[in-house]
């Protein structure tokens, strides 16, 4: 029955990687000294499953390797072996090796054979050099002596049936190997008064003719070993017919009914019933499927269009008049339902792309374990909020910045055990990863209880690099922000761990590229906390609709600081042209969107408009608009793919009434206002403080 087992490979890989992750985290828990005996069982089970699966699915190298791991783990599980640091480290390394082997098997990549062999021999060495070759060798036994046939005497003990074995089925199997003659001996049947229907009173003499090895026969009787008397003797070529004939003659008549049952009908029936099942081949339940991400994006896009169509219809429906009122009622009910359904559909589709952030967090326990031993520090990693979901693309892009932040926390944040004790802090430092949803954003916090950021050193460094003027006073907050400036590192010497040339400026840039922001707070000797704020998805945006003349623009809500009615007295004109607005103690350049995009405004007078103050990278500008409309979630459409890149715009969307609205790019607007004197110079807010 040629079943293609490669169809199970995908799921085998998925579950094996999950198993490896479970092993890894349990190993790390063990190395942290939690003496939970369930942990070692869990590790053993995972190794065991991988071994079993890899053997079955044809990855013999993996199976061989995990066999050694399993043996070691088994000894630990049975308490025969001490669970010490070096064993745990070796096991962790082995987890990596297995992962590598599985990845190579899955992707058809190159296997690091040297590393596999080296780790395997270290595992074997740890097993006291007792080579664990308990394999094979048995297959050699009965191989040679193939006879004309076999004489089998089979006398089950009375309780054989209670093991679930059935002699008749075993005879069927024997009959498939060759010509089988069966003679039953009923002499053991007691009188009716003593007869127990659950017991077996019969015994059999069988002769099996054909090219059969003793091994094959033994296999059939393998499971009843110990539940019966069994003798198997070869039959010589000449006398085989005689013996068989003689036995059949001497046998009683009942024999045929029980034992000569033909196997043929059984197999026919099987074949018949197997055929219609071919169609179910695809229907085998799978708990997850892999889908190309472009398909999902297409789906998201289509749903976006559907939402637009729906809101268009909704608008038309609400404007209908002079129609049969009962029909209008029905139409409106239908439209309300359509709206609800489309919203749910959109949410479900968006959710396809959402993954719990644990996918990203899961790599950290291992990293912290490895790094802290490398740095000679004691660090405990706390993780919370790992179930918080975010878009897969966002997650992929945030992983590197997070790694950087955690590395920094270990390298620069947490002090050495001695230094910590000297400060009266516990020897073991804590790095805490936390995630939660807030509004339409996900907040990820990386905090440590280390030495904190040295504000004075940062300031000195910034002055030395001429990032700020020598005499310029800075608040603590502003000072700390300097670490995000390009080319800034306070590490006294570059270590292997951080300071590889990728600075915090790259972290901030990556986060900004995702439409997010990063902030830091820090207290001397108490620790630091980095707070990363990210949109949940890159496909939709919470926007504020602004009207300028006849056009509608969308400003990402996250960028808006405040909106206010203009007070003409507070406007100063600098250098003849550039207008600055005095916002409490600050000055912000005023950007007239109508001028920038060449739109005819509703009114040229400033006090008829509203000033929307937006901020990015610590720079603020005030946008002059005619009106604030509503706020809504919009589906972002790329301008580049549909038209071309336009400075000051990050994309477009289609509104409920079918009109296109452009999405403003705050960074771009700030840059433009800097070049265009008419709209005022860019303005660092701290300079005005």
């Amino acid at each position: 029955m040629g079943i293609d087992i490669t169809q199970f490979h995908q799921i085998f890989f998925e579950e094996s990687f999950e198993g490896l992750e479970a092993m890894e985290s349990a190993l790390l828990d063990l190395s942290r000294g939690s003496g939970n005996s369930e942990l070692i069982h869990e590790i053993f089970r995972a190794a065991h499953s991988i071994k079993g699966g890899s053997g079955t699915f044809g990855f013999s190298a993996v199976s061989e390797f995990t066999h050694v791991m399993e043996t070691l783990l088994d000894e630990m599980r049975e308490g025969q072996r001490e669970i010490n640091e070096s064993a745990l480290n070796l096991l962790l390394e082995s987890v990596d090796v297995v992962r590598g082997m599985l990845e190579a098997a899955r992707d058809g990549g190159v296997l690091e054979a040297d590393r596999v062999a080296a780790t395997q021999s270290r595992l074997e060495a740890m097993l006291n050099g007792d080579d664990i070759v308990v394999q094979a060798s048995s297959s050699m036994a009965g191989q040679q002596d193939i006879h004309k046939g076999w004489q089998i005497d089979f006398k089950p003990y009375p309780e054989l049936m209670k093991t679930g074995n059935d002699p008749v089925l075993m005879f069927h199997e024997l009959a498939e190997m060759g010509e089988l003659k069966v003679v039953v001996d009923t002499s053991g049947i007691p009188s009716a008064a003593h007869f127990d229907p659950e017991e077996c009173y019969l015994s059999w003499k069988l002769s099996l003719m054909g090219d059969v090895t003793e091994e094959q026969i033994n296999e059939i009787f393998e499971w009843v070993d110990g539940d019966c008397d069994l003798t198997i003797n070869p039959i010589a070529v000449e006398d085989s017919d005689q013996i068989a004939a003689a036995q059949v003659e001497t046998g009683s008549h009942e024999s045929c009914a029980v034992a000569q049952a033909e196997r043929q009908p059984a197999t026919d029936r099987q074949a018949d019933e197997a055929a219609p099942n071919q169609g179910e081949r695809r229907a085998v339940a799978e708990s997850s499927i892999r889908v190309n991400i472009t398909k999902i994006d297409e789906l998201i896009n289509m749903v976006g269009e559907l939402v637009i169509t729906q809101s268009m219809l909704g608008q038309v429906g609400s404007e209908l008049e002079n129609v049969d009122s009962s029909k209008l009622e029905k139409l409106r009910n239908g439209l309300v339902q359509l709206e609800r359904n489309t919203r749910e559909l959109q949410e479900s589709v968006m959710r396809i792309r959402m993954f719990p952030i644990s996918y990203s967090f899961n790599r950290f326990p291992r990293m912290v374990h490895d790094l802290s031993s490398q740095l000679g520090k004691k660090v405990e990693l706390k993780i919370s909020g790992e179930a918080t979901e975010l878009d897969k693309t966002v997650m992929e892009k945030i992983s590197d910045p997070l790694v950087h932040l955690v590395r920094n926390a270990l390298d620069h944040g947490i002090e050495t055990p001695d230094a910590r004790v000297a400060k009266g802090k516990p020897e073991t430092g804590v790095v805490h990863l936390n995630a939660y949803h807030k509004g339409g954003n996900i907040i990820i916090e990386v905090s440590d209880d280390g030495g904190g950021l040295p504000a004075d050193r940062i300031l000195a460094k910034a002055r030395q690099r001429a990032l700020i003027a020598d005499d310029e006073p800075l608040t603590r907050e502003k000072t700390l922000d300097l670490i995000f400036e390009p080319g800034f590192t306070t590490a006294e010497e570059l270590s292997d761990v951080s300071g590889r040339g990728v600075g915090m400026d790259v972290v901030r840039r990556n986060i900004r590229d995702l439409g997010g922001s990063i902030e830091v707070t820090s207290e001397q000797d108490k620790g630091s906390k980095f707070t990363v704020r990210l949109p949940l998805t890159l496909a939709i945006l919470d926007g504020q609709l602004l009207s300028v003349g006849s056009e509608t623009f969308i400003m990402p809500l996250i960028s808006i600081v405040e909106s206010l009615q203009l007070d003409c007295d507070l406007i100063n004109t600098v250098a003849g042209q550039a207008e600055m607005y005095r916002l409490r103690d600050d000055y912000v350049p005023v950007v007239r969107l109508c001028k920038l995009f060449g739109i005819k405004p509703k009114s040229m007078s400033l006090q008829d408009g509203l000033l929307v103050v937006v901020e990015q990278d610590g720079m603020r500008i005030g946008l002059l608009v005619d009106e604030l409309l509503g706020q809504q979630q919009v589906v972002i459409k790329s301008l580049e793919t549909n038209f071309r890149r336009v400075e000051g715009l990050s994309g477009a969307t289609i509104l409920g009434d079918g009109t296109v609205a452009l999405i403003l790019d705050v960074g771009g607007l700030i840059a433009m206002s800097g070049r265009d004197p008419a709209s005022g110079p860019p303005h660092k807010k701290e300079q005005a403080a």
């Binding site: 799921i11 579950e15 869990e42 699966g53 079955t56 679930g164 089925l169 197997a274 085998v284 708990s287």
Partner: protein, 120 residues
């Protein structure tokens, strides 16, 4: 044809066993551990139970002991799936009431051939 209960905490193993048996025309139900299996066994009639040994919550040996003690599974073939071919594991299984064992790794054809020994 008989309904078979396949018990394994490994999803891929379970699916492989289950798929193979379904292909051969058997009805198959699945359980991920002994507790689940016992629950299913109480509410269904299985002609054969194939169970992994190492599982969370309730292992295969305990499951077999429990099943064998139930009147409706007194004569039912109960097979263990095991990676350990050693005689102790087998004895332990037999003592618990297992009919036999299938040693991993195995392929679908071996599985089908083996269960024919205990299932009509």
């Amino acid at each position: 044809m008989a309904t078979i209960l396949a018990v394994d905490d490994s999803n891929s193993m379970r699916q492989m066993v289950s798929f193979t048996l379904k292909q051969a025309g058997y009805e198959v139900m699945e359980a991920a551990d002994g507790v689940e299996a016992l629950e299913l066994a109480k509410n269904n009639v299985f002609g054969l139970v194939i169970s992994d040994v190492n599982m969370p919550r309730m292992d295969g040996i305990t499951l077999i002991k429990q099943l064998r003690s139930m009147a409706s599974y007194k004569f039912t073939p109960l097979l263990m799936l095991t990676t350990e071919a050693g005689p102790e594991k087998k004895r332990e299984g037999k003592e618990a009431g297992a009919t036999g064992w299938i040693v991993k790794p195995f392929n679908p054809d071996q599985l089908l051939a083996t269960i024919k020994r205990v299932l009509a």
